[in-house]
């Protein structure tokens, strides 16, 4: 531009100015336009259109405003704007599947959405008003919405005790306890089972080095019909708790060497009376008699055996104790006899009860176990192992701690490494960026990480020391749920106040009862004041329920139980003294505060009352549809053949008034009997006597929870 034209405004300059002004204005207009088109405003408008097309428009739009809706809970540090788009969340009429999301109503839950907000359970970014920001993991937000499949995890974050509505979470917690994840990891709210893995202090006296080798290589012994070593797919929840470790040949040899010399408490060999051996050893009935005794003693209440029928292998029996299908090929026969006679001498804390054995039974059962429960191919893949060398033993000793064996198995004088695995008590709240994904080709989010790590620990971390577990999908999801529920200490005191702690059940047996109670391990199956297993009836109020004499007889001979149950009380061959001790304690101590056994005098019942009661039982209330008397009636409730010899009249009266007051989850319907009817029915039931006929059986045959169950 020549100098003389400087300062003069030309048409070209005007044009450039005009065009650039227009462009500038247009650029400025982009932001208000984008603001108008924001996602949440579109959802607002589309909800209005949707509501106007429905008959109940007025109710649906009563609270409508074109602005952002939010649930603000300052104490919980929570601002949830989810309801800006999820506008029908409290509209009961929008439950139908045809209602498009995000307008559908929330399924019914015990909490009021307005009082709790959304992200406290669902996670995600509450203050966000964009779909991706609210639900997904983005550049500046790493807590995406929790998949609904694992939503029970959120219940568990506050409810540290199990809820009936959260079976997946409860199963996950049970597995964490059962598999002894606590052995290596820190976790809150999971019980460490009293007996972790078996105590190996004397393992050298029990099994051979070859068997240990086989077990370390593949800690499963049952083969399915395709020849695969597996237990999943059997009709049982049981899974050998021992996971598979990734061990080299040298490591396995070293560990077997070390373990095979562990003989801290050598058993005292027991010699079965030669007379018994002489009588039975030639008897062709020996093995079948042994099997019969095995069954009659109800070993399968706790132990299972793999049974193949019609080409299908199933584990039959309880899952409290190890399955015994091939135990004859595993244990030293001399050890077996010593063990059966006195299990606590080998393992002081075992849950195996101490039976009273006759030499005859002992001989029959051990012969059965060592000849029938065997597999000659079990050790076929094991190389020849010589007597362990010192170097091998030394290495095995070191490996036992380094590989984490000591975290589950006790060997006297050998301490587990502290904090062997990472602390998992806040795992459920971790951001994806805090996790190590390695080279794994999985989505980078917490759920995928947990599942990949559980399924194959090496996939996310080649140096992982965590062993290999075998999961079915349901259990994998359950454990994932339980882990997701552990979000560490609550961030605010308001959240801290929401935590519903676990009820700490405690029961201390005392005096001579304690000794018998420990010997028979009653708590493995029965609950006492909330402490113990849930396989068998809760005995907390047994003293109010049952007559002392009945208890004595039952304990001595619990053979006649409900035929539909597989898991039954074992035949302990209990002495009179032990049975009396237990019965005395139960009837003195395990009392319901509202039931006084002496409060109702049986002498007041007259034959007339009993006749009336019988009429009420059979005609008016038709109790026989659930209860059996004299061979006829239903099987839902307990058999009442011997009600008069079994139950206390006080219990019957209190029970008839309100069964749920005594047993909250009882199925017995609460009928509004008059006082007279109650007296009459009690009088009638007290007339029922049928020798020693124990009736009340396990009302709850759920698998026993290891975690809540046994131990100290």
């Amino acid at each position: 531009m020549p100098a003389e034209e400087m300062g003069k405004v030309t048409d070209r300059m005007r044009f450039v100015f005009a065009v650039s002004s227009l462009i500038f204005l247009a650029v400025l207009a982009i932001s208000p336009f984008k603001d108008y088109r924001r996602e949440w405003k579109q959802y607002k408008r589309s909800y209005l259109r949707f509501a106007q097309g429905r008959p109940d428009t007025k109710r649906l739009t009563a609270d409508y405003s074109p602005d952002i809706d939010q649930i603000w809970l300052p104490g919980m540090n929570l601002v949830d704007r989810c309801t800006t788009c999820h506008q029908g969340i409290t509209q009961a009429s929008l439950a139908d599947k045809s209602v498009p999301e995000p307008f559908r109503v929330h399924p019914p839950i015990p909490h009021n959405v307005r009082e709790w907000g959304c992200t406290i359970c669902h996670r995600g970014q509450g203050p966000a008003t964009e779909v991706a920001e609210a639900h997904e993991s983005t550049l500046a937000w790493e807590q995406p919405v929790l998949p609904t499949h694992f939503i029970q995890a959120s219940c568990g974050t506050c409810h540290q005790s199990d809820l009936p509505q959260t079976p997946q979470l409860a199963r996950g917690r049970q597995l964490l306890a059962e598999l002894n994840c606590q052995g290596c990891h820190k976790m809150q709210g999971i019980d460490r089972p009293a007996m972790l893995g078996p105590d190996l202090s004397s393992i050298g006296t029990k099994v051979s080095r070859e068997w240990i080798y086989k077990w370390l290589k593949e800690p499963r012994t049952i083969v399915d019909k395709d020849g695969n070593v597996t237990v999943n797919g059997y009709e049982t929840q049981e899974e050998p708790r021992m996971p598979k470790f990734r061990l080299t040949e040298t490591e396995i040899r070293a560990l077997t060497a070390f373990l095979s010399v562990q003989k801290a408490r050598p058993f005292a060999p027991y010699k079965i009376s030669p007379a018994v051996v002489a009588t039975w050893s030639k008897n062709p009935e020996l093995i079948s008699q042994g099997e019969l005794r095995f069954r009659q003693m109800f070993c399968s209440t706790c132990h299972s055996l793999a049974v193949t029928r019609a080409g299908e292998t199933k584990l039959i029996g309880g899952d409290i104790a190890p399955e015994l299908t091939k135990v004859g090929s595993k244990v030293n026969p001399g050890w077996l006899i010593a063990w059966l006679r006195d299990p606590q001498a080998y393992l002081p804390h075992t849950r195996m009860p101490r039976y009273g054995w006759s030499d005859e039974d002992l001989y029959k059962v051990t012969q059965y176990v060592t000849t029938k429960l065997v597999d000659s191919d079990l050790l076929s893949g094991v190389p020849k192992l010589d007597a362990p060398a010192d170097a091998e033993i030394q290495l095995g000793h070191r490996l036992f701690a380094e590989k984490g064996c000591a975290s589950c198995h006790v060997i006297e004088g050998l301490n587990p490494q502290k904090d062997f695995g990472p602390d998992l008590s806040a795992l459920g709240g971790k951001n994806a960026s805090e996790l190590e994904f390695g080279t794994a080709k999985i989505p980078h989010n917490l759920v995928s990480y947990i599942q990949a790590k559980l399924e194959d620990p090496v996939s996310v971390n080649p140096a992982a020391r965590m062993p290999q577990y075998t999961w079915n999908q349901a259990d994998l999801d359950a454990v994932t749920t339980a882990l997701l529920s552990m979000k560490g200490a609550p961030a605010t005191s308001a959240l801290q106040n929401l935590v519903v702690p676990r009820k700490e059940a405690s029961f201390r047996a005392t005096g001579s009862f304690a000794e018998v109670y420990e010997r028979y391990k009653c708590y493995t199956c029965h609950k006492f004041n909330g402490y113990g297993g849930d396989l068998a009836p809760d005995l907390t109020y047994e003293g109010s329920r049952a007559q002392r004499q009945w208890l004595v007889e039952f304990l001595k001979s619990p053979q006649t139980l409900r035929p539909t149950l597989i898991l039954r009380m074992p035949q302990f061959n209990m002495s009179d003294k032990d049975a009396a001790t237990l019965a005395d304690y139960l009837s003195m101590v395990m009392q319901h505060p509202a039931v006084n056994p002496a409060g109702v005098d049986a002498k007041q019942f007259t034959p007339a009352m009993a006749t009336l009661g019988k009429q009420l039982y059979e005609v008016k209330y038709q109790c026989q549809s659930c209860h059996t008397i004299g061979g006829s009636g239903g099987y839902v409730g307990p058999n009442l053949n011997n009600a008069g010899g079994w139950l206390t009249p006080a219990w019957i009266e209190a029970w008839l008034k309100n069964p749920q007051a005594l047993v909250p989850d009882s199925m017995e319907p609460r009928r509004n009997f008059t006082d007279e009817e109650i007296k009459a029915l009690t009088a009638y039931l007290m007339t029922l006597r049928a020798g020693i006929q124990p009736q009340k059986t396990a009302s709850n045959t759920r698998a026993l929870a290891w975690g809540h169950g046994a131990g100290k």
Binding site: A3, M6, G7, S31, P32, K34, D35, I68, V79, R81, P127, A128, T129, E130, E133, A140
Partner: protein, 250 residues
């Protein structure tokens, strides 16, 4: 029409109110016009005469003006942002999110402030290089060069203090690293760091201090220095450096 407007203006300038504000009557002679300029706080920055050459693009690329306009943009958008911002944890980060999620045109507002800040640092540096390579630091411009250097430092401090305010990971670690560098100063390093952070870690105190520095102290310095800078440009004889100055002769 034009005459009546001019006579109305003339009459306005005769009024007492006008005179009390501008301290002058009508500017009808060169002297009174000059006095009107000198007597006005804003106008006295302006040169009485401008060379056409100095208005050319190549003379300055308008870098000083661009920096100043960006500063004004930052000032205005900064005031708007202050309406939505709490210098406290965890509110600060939440306020950022609310600007994104709730405030109308909030993203535009915040991005305008952020982009203008980046551009201003860039423009100020370019301005400095340009002046340096044109020899603008030579007499009689030495003092204004020093003022310019101070302005560069103020700009950088503004940028750095503003960086902490979103209270996100980037901010936290940038300031952690930056203040650790400060603590490497011999003898007084740790004291200076403590003074700056109001503690030993980048916490809520640091956020408050950086906020006060960012919105009060540093902008005040900037305004004063910008005033001096502009004024001295004119006093030192305009912004173009004459060819003969480049030889070092006066």
């Amino acid at each position: 029409m034009a005459t009546s407007f001019q006579s109305a203006l003339q009459n306005l300038r005769e009024t007492k109110v006008w005179k009390s504000i501008f301290r002058r009557g009508p500017a009808n002679t060169n002297r009174t016009r000059s006095l009107a300029i000198f007597g006005n706080l804003f106008l006295h920055w302006m040169p009485v005469k401008v060379r056409e050459k100095s208005l050319r693009m190549r003379a300055s690329y308008y870098l000083g003006s661009i920096s100043f306009i960006l500063f004004i943009v930052l000032f205005v958008t900064g005031i708007f942002l202050m309406f939505y911002y709490h210098p406290a944890a965890p509110n600060a980060y939440r306020d950022m999110k609310d600007l994104q999620f709730v405030v109308s045109n909030g993203v535009f507002l915040r991005n305008l402030h952020r982009l203008a800040a980046h551009l201003m640092v860039f423009a100020v540096f370019w301005h400095m290089f340009h002046v340096f390579y044109r020899g603008g630091y030579k007499p009689p411009h030495e003092f204004n060069w020093v003022v310019g250097v101070l302005l560069l430092l103020v700009t950088l401090f503004l940028s750095y203090t503003g960086y902490l305010l979103p209270w996100d990971q980037l901010a936290f670690w940038a300031v952690t690293v930056g203040t650790n560098i400060i603590s490497a100063m011999p003898f007084i390093g740790h004291k200076v760091r403590f003074l700056l952070l109001g503690g030993n870690i980048v916490g809520e105190n640091a956020l408050l201090r950086f906020y006060v520095l960012h919105i009060v102290i540093l902008p005040l310095f900037a305004f004063v220095l910008i005033g001096i800078h502009f004024w001295r440009v004119q006093k030192d004889g305009g912004l173009t450096v004459k060819p003969k100055d480049e030889d070092g002769k006066e």
